[in-house]
Symmetry: D3
Subunit: 258 residues, 6 copies
Amino acid sequence: MRWANLTSEDLNSLDKDRTVVILPIGSIEKHGPHLPLGTDGLAIEVVAMEVAERTGAVVLPTLYYAYVPENRHMPGTITLSGEAFLRILEEICDEVYRNGFKKILLLNGHGGNKRPLSLFLREMQAKGKRYNLYILLDPWEVIHEKIREVAETDVWGHAGEVETSYMTYLFPDLCKLERVKRPAKLGVEKVVEGVEAMTDWVGYAIEGYVGDPRKANVKKGKALFEAWVKGLVEIVEKIKRDELYDKILDEYYSKIRH
Amino acid sequence: MRWANLTSEDLNSLDKDRTVVILPIGSIEKHGPHLPLGTDGLAIEVVAMEVAERTGAVVLPTLYYAYVPENRHMPGTITLSGEAFLRILEEICDEVYRNGFKKILLLNGHGGNKRPLSLFLREMQAKGKRYNLYILLDPWEVIHEKIREVAETDVWGHAGEVETSYMTYLFPDLCKLERVKRPAKLGVEKVVEGVEAMTDWVGYAIEGYVGDPRKANVKKGKALFEAWVKGLVEIVEKIKRDELYDKILDEYYSKIRH
Amino acid sequence: MRWANLTSEDLNSLDKDRTVVILPIGSIEKHGPHLPLGTDGLAIEVVAMEVAERTGAVVLPTLYYAYVPENRHMPGTITLSGEAFLRILEEICDEVYRNGFKKILLLNGHGGNKRPLSLFLREMQAKGKRYNLYILLDPWEVIHEKIREVAETDVWGHAGEVETSYMTYLFPDLCKLERVKRPAKLGVEKVVEGVEAMTDWVGYAIEGYVGDPRKANVKKGKALFEAWVKGLVEIVEKIKRDELYDKILDEYYSKIRH
Amino acid sequence: MRWANLTSEDLNSLDKDRTVVILPIGSIEKHGPHLPLGTDGLAIEVVAMEVAERTGAVVLPTLYYAYVPENRHMPGTITLSGEAFLRILEEICDEVYRNGFKKILLLNGHGGNKRPLSLFLREMQAKGKRYNLYILLDPWEVIHEKIREVAETDVWGHAGEVETSYMTYLFPDLCKLERVKRPAKLGVEKVVEGVEAMTDWVGYAIEGYVGDPRKANVKKGKALFEAWVKGLVEIVEKIKRDELYDKILDEYYSKIRH
Amino acid sequence: MRWANLTSEDLNSLDKDRTVVILPIGSIEKHGPHLPLGTDGLAIEVVAMEVAERTGAVVLPTLYYAYVPENRHMPGTITLSGEAFLRILEEICDEVYRNGFKKILLLNGHGGNKRPLSLFLREMQAKGKRYNLYILLDPWEVIHEKIREVAETDVWGHAGEVETSYMTYLFPDLCKLERVKRPAKLGVEKVVEGVEAMTDWVGYAIEGYVGDPRKANVKKGKALFEAWVKGLVEIVEKIKRDELYDKILDEYYSKIRH
Amino acid sequence: MRWANLTSEDLNSLDKDRTVVILPIGSIEKHGPHLPLGTDGLAIEVVAMEVAERTGAVVLPTLYYAYVPENRHMPGTITLSGEAFLRILEEICDEVYRNGFKKILLLNGHGGNKRPLSLFLREMQAKGKRYNLYILLDPWEVIHEKIREVAETDVWGHAGEVETSYMTYLFPDLCKLERVKRPAKLGVEKVVEGVEAMTDWVGYAIEGYVGDPRKANVKKGKALFEAWVKGLVEIVEKIKRDELYDKILDEYYSKIRH
């Protein structure tokens, strides 16, 4: 159920108090020599649709324009400023709520979005928003166990074994695995251990991918995808039943004198 | 050729001086009882893809989050503020240009976007942008003749005969034409002739569609769609060859002391 | 009746529900070799005062600081950014409404202001403003017929036959018609037909005027001015009687859950 | 010489390095029962024009939309926010400088503008502006001596003896001195001595004027006006000759590493 | 009583209607060769603490990050933009008020802050703030008499005899008076008499101090400090008793239709 | 070495390329019934000063005004908006760099600041800042081992055993341990496992502290404090020697076409 594919009346007839509205958020950035620039959005949108299918959630148009300063030096990256990204997230959520829907789930598909999304949650609270906002910060939060199970390599992050596996399963035509000739060269992980620096990712993932994507295959991809969907279906079902959110939020706001 | 579907290297290997980068812009708003909320984006994206196929243009992810205050009172509408809309347009164009592409075409699919897009053009000039920005303001600019040719009704605008025809041709599964029982009731077109008012559209298209969509059919839709694509292919070819833009712009900026 | 010339008490004693408050908006930009930089504001202010005389409207101080990026490369232009222009318009309208006046008419005297003013109307709606905002977008909206009647040339726009005629009639001392030696040289109207480009006006009106101003004369100017005033008097009278605006607006806002 | 009344060429042919460009700034606010709302702008504009006549300065359109929160509770006041006021001042000055003029004089006609104007000066410095910005902060800076000479009353401020005198001299038709029946009732000057409070003006000038305007007369007005013009002519002449500004500013900026 | 040193409960148990909350505001800028960069904040914080001790006021953490464009060319200066400075002042005051405290006193320790603080007062009024905001604009407002009494020199301002005296008394370890070898060289006070210019301070206090700090001594410092505290204690006591503020403000707001 | 305590010349004479400038960042929020509202800033400032003592770093005035929406419902909290907090951080860092210092270390003392600080790092990169920015995101990053060693309880976070221990050691007079009668009641940790929600902290730490602070003692506090300082001294030493930062950053920026 895509919001954009429904008629006004069909959308309006849904059970707005319980229906979970999902906003998939991707990115546009280099994913090695073999995966498409839009990998994060492409994957999270399929996951979202599959989850919606099984739970009755409604899926908003995927937001490809997101936050990727860390890979901006690689060809093809399109990033918003943090300010613009936070702003359109707020406006979209406000509009969904204005339409009567209360439960909003942001499904993040790109690691670099964690920073603005993490702040976004608190900013909405600081601004007194009344909707129940849930954010999947770490895209792979629910498949870490499955990753440990299927991964043959230790470094399987950005455009590596894991991502390549499910992209090969979901979008075989868009993957050019044959272009990967060797594991990624990696640079310095941190210039100084214990503190964050602007160089952290930039100095490390110097080729736009990590690990050895050649270890990816369709079977792993299928297993990962199914675990992903399963994990998120459970979360969405919990969200549908969640009645604590409003209770806690109401009490919180009532103690803040405006 | 979708920007998001290309690898970093494939995008980078394009002829950046001549390749036209297309941003399709839609909307999310009521389109009568029969067409999907995302009609404008769904249609303009297909048009853009077909045009790209024939011209070698690259198509960015469609922007569904756009500018629709005028239909905000109908269920399902999601609109950005003018400020946010203008800002992400600017950031996206800036990033495309930063990637080395010079010719950017905004393909607008929603009438209400004309207002902010019309300002956007001048604002980019005021800010001294160096890219060649082309905007299709009126989505149907190139098919007005074809519309006159195929339309049986006089009022064929928003979710009417024309739009319904090509949506039926392009997305038959998403159209519920059977729900249309009669022509749209229309309200007052203008409270005062000769000046614009906030009530103009709101008081007029009171049912979220106009005219009699039942006059729509697949054959008309095919004819309209093909004329649309043909008209835009011609435009894109002209854009590819256009060398005057930079010349005029350079002279203009050179006379402005910054 | 100028707002600035009234005492506080005199203004306060007006019938605020029906009195139309007019904001004349001009520009500061080159108007050929013969007309003053402030032409648009000078003319629209006289028009506004004459209309006020006949209708009891109140006229605010003319806004000369407006939106002219398209002529910024010509000596003498002063333009605001779109953002600043929209903002002071909003603050002025808000203050007028705060003073109890409900009917606000923006009389635009400069073509280039159409872009921001067109957006302004929707932005005020999006922000839920309660005043009845009317905008004369095209300065010559009500005299197109009269123009067809008196004009001897086909290209009579910016600083051309029409404008020069009424400026000669209204401000003979400020016009230097003798400096015009020949019709304006014109450049390329559009780099690509069918789409808007930043070059459109810049590449066309390369001398800061169009057509042949030498065809202008006082008689035409008088006819044009009188038609202008007459047309606007009719509009202001309709605005005074308009009761539909609030009705439509109230219903619109009531359907938007805030 | 009004900027708006000059043609593009006439303005362009001025000696830009030495010509002083004057921006008169007024207000729209209650001035007792007898003076017009626009008093501050009306007066300072006449002063500016007279000064320009004698010095060759160029006068920009008067800014009536200015900063008056302190009289906002009186009918007729129109004020901008501090933010908007500062912004358009900056944009106007930037445009004047972009046109090649270097010496900009803000002639303030309204006491309440002192607060934002005082900050404006430093903000332009903080932003590294290169123009020579001069601000007459206190409108009566140059006539304090003359005031002491002609005034019969001690409290002669806002809409009192002084202002009423020169308004009666300059705009006899707009003054309704007969409406003043007695000296203004005054409230508490300060709630707490030694610190500023939001109540300071509001609690004091409770009738929108101070002192006894009935002491005003045309003769005093003429004397005040002539002293005003004379004082400002001297200032403008000094500004024309001032070469220290650039020298000091250049050294200042050179020491700030950007 | 420092806000930051109290527990949540202890703060909460105070008489919020009468307790005065003090925000000391300093600066970071050159104070001659002999005084520390943070002089203004260091001094005003001690003053605030001493005043609080005697009046029961609560002191917020000192704001060292303030407004110093005028000394930005001297090593060590840290200044905020006017916009940022105004914004955090507003947010801090809003939060104090949200906590239930009504009387807020900004104790300014730096002359250059007068400009933004002066605007801040009116901006809070324009925004309809309900708290009683008191601002000590001129740091030495209450000790001008004492200064006249103890000062041996005529020019005793920035880092001069006065400031050096009380710093020597309060922070002997941070003062390097031995580095002052002679009175400060001073530049041009004003490029043009009668108007403000960006060069005014910059061209004058060219060595980052004025006058002859060698005239400073601990005895004078003690006298000045004690007068300062005494003067402010009286003010704070008046603020505690002030009931007029709310009355005037309520009436003012009630007359402004929002 | 406090920046604010140095004279202009003393600061200026430091080795700017290698000197690390530390900005301690705290918060103002409830810390149980026993610890002061400013705990985070008080502690991190002492840590910073001790680290500076041993490394030659310079310490800026502690920023107490930070980001605490999550405890805003408890008496005493003062929080900035995310936008304002990010802005003053940027302006402070810019000013430090403008003064010639390159290595800037933000020492965060409050868990809730992690969200905005995490975004801040990437935003500075997106804006092309040239300074070497290091951020201690998690205040206890370097003492997790020591915590495991000394803590007797499992839940030792906000105002719990750990924080209370070092506060008792560093600020015995400000701690009211006797007010703690029992371990904190805790609420629901997460309304839905696997996703973030606005209720997460609010619903959990319902008494403004966690765990059993009565397990705190001075000995643990001393051990924790010393480990903290030791860990940070090592980090600062590494920062002083770090030459990779510029290299990586330069290459990154060189690949981004602006």
